[in-house]
């Protein structure tokens, strides 16, 4: 079967870093409180840049990294699209000069990047396209209740992207296996209640368009499902945890990632993390963490990676891949 390889990677952040100290002036919190519970020291919040804007910047960096100016497909994972209609991906494809390629959005909240990766891998492996630009892009600052310290301190804006290409069978640096899952009975754990057809068809429904999350329940379920999904893809790849060089989990919370490593009986040193600098960037978090792994010199060609994510829905997903030899620039800081 056709193999699928990562050919390029890029990222972008809006150039407005918000520190914990600045948040402490806006709400009842402190640097110590935020760091102790989340591991986050700062995040980037947009002023004038939308999800499409950061997606374009990250996509351009990924295309540059892949030394390509064309792909056959654009899949964009986001919770915060530019508009309820149409999808953000076609505008991103047009702004990148990609011509009349297939382009659509994927909505799986913080698992979105893994879902988008699975979709693009399926398109390539099935022979529908030969290459794809997969983007995770978010501007959570636009949906946060900035008086709610349980969520506002956690999330940041940004985008990460990879270029996937078809390769000959047996190519060593390949995207190996992907596992996806969901449990809609837990949809209340992470949600934006209003703004959709549910609210418009039920007069009594919650009309809030702010993001809400049941933190403790999410913590527990995230650790449980990411561990279970990780073990599934590791078994499919016939890898042991010991054989994995790096675990790149969704950058939800440092303590969630620590508990995940413990549950997998993996050395915590294998966790690649950047949430201390950028916070939880939802669908963008895994490609931004991968980029951090490269630019910090830890992630090298031939390394075995486990990616895993959990998000609203609830949804979860994991992937195994062998990292290729790639050159990449640090995330583009774009004016906002």
């Amino acid at each position: 079967m056709t193999e699928v390889v990562v050919a390029g990677i890029g990222g972008a952040l809006p150039d407005n870093r918000v520190t914990n100290a600045e948040l402490a002036e806006m709400m009842d919190t402190s640097d110590e409180w935020i760091r102790g519970r989340t591991g986050i020291a700062g995040r980037y919040w947009s002023r004038t840049t939308s999800t499409g804007d950061v997606a374009v910047a990250a996509g351009r960096r990924a295309l540059d990294s892949a030394q390509r100016d064309q792909v056959d497909l654009v899949v964009l994972a986001t919770t915060t699209p530019d508009h309820p209609c149409p999808a953000t991906a076609p505008a991103v494809a047009a702004r990148l000069g990609l011509g009349p390629v297939g382009a659509f959005d994927v909505a799986a909240v913080c698992s979105g990047f893994i879902y988008a990766l699975a979709v693009a891998k399926g398109f390539i492996a099935g022979g529908l396209v030969r290459s794809a630009l997969v983007i995770g892009a978010e501007t959570y600052s636009t949906i946060l209740d900035r008086t709610d310290r349980s969520t506002a301190v956690i999330f940041g804006d940004g985008a990460g992207a990879v270029v996937l290409c078809a390769a000959e069978p047996g190519t060593p640096a390949a995207l190996e296996h992907i596992d996806l899952g969901s449990n809609g009975d837990d949809r209340q754990l992470v949600c934006v209640p209003g703004g959709g057809s549910y609210q418009r068809t039920r007069p009594e429904a919650d009309r809030s368009t702010h993001f809400s999350m049941l933190g403790r329940e999410v913590f527990r379920t995230a650790v449980t499902e990411m561990a279970r999904s990780s073990q599934t893809v590791l078994q499919r790849s016939r890898w042991t945890v010991r054989e994995v060089d790096w675990i790149v989990g969704h950058q939800a919370n440092e303590r969630i990632l620590g508990a995940l490593a413990d549950r997998l009986e993996a050395d915590r040193e294998k966790l690649i993390m950047n949430l201390d600098r950028v916070g939880n960037t939802s669908a963008a978090s895994i490609p931004l963490a991968l980029l951090e792994g490269i630019t910090s010199g830890r992630l090298r060609g031939g390394d075995r990676l486990l990616l895993t994510a959990f998000g609203g829905g609830t949804t979860w997903g994991s992937a195994t891949l062998v990292w290729p030899e790639l050159k990449a620039e640090p995330a583009d800081l774009i004016p906002t």
């Binding site: 102790g36 933190g215 527990r220 303590r255 620590g258 508990a259 413990d262």
Partner: protein
Amino acid sequence: MNAQAQQAVVRYLVDAITTRLENVDLPADPITEDSRFEDLGLDSINLVELALLVERELHVVVTDAQLADWGTVGAAGEHIAGSVTDSSTLPQVAHRGGGS
């Protein structure tokens, strides 16, 4: 045997709270089976982490809400010990909890 199992689980919980949970502001007094979770300087995530440790290592599914409802370390030990189906976890627990 039940009392022994409970003691082993209590020692496990005390060991976990004092040495394995992060961001805990422990009180000066030693933790005993009469200690209440709410008095142990735990943050909002610590009981979830403790429940996950119990689930992984003792193979007993508990939630942070149950731990909070049970109130004390001793009561939690009693409930958890009563649900242990794999008794082979307990000697190991007793050894770990002994701090040797």
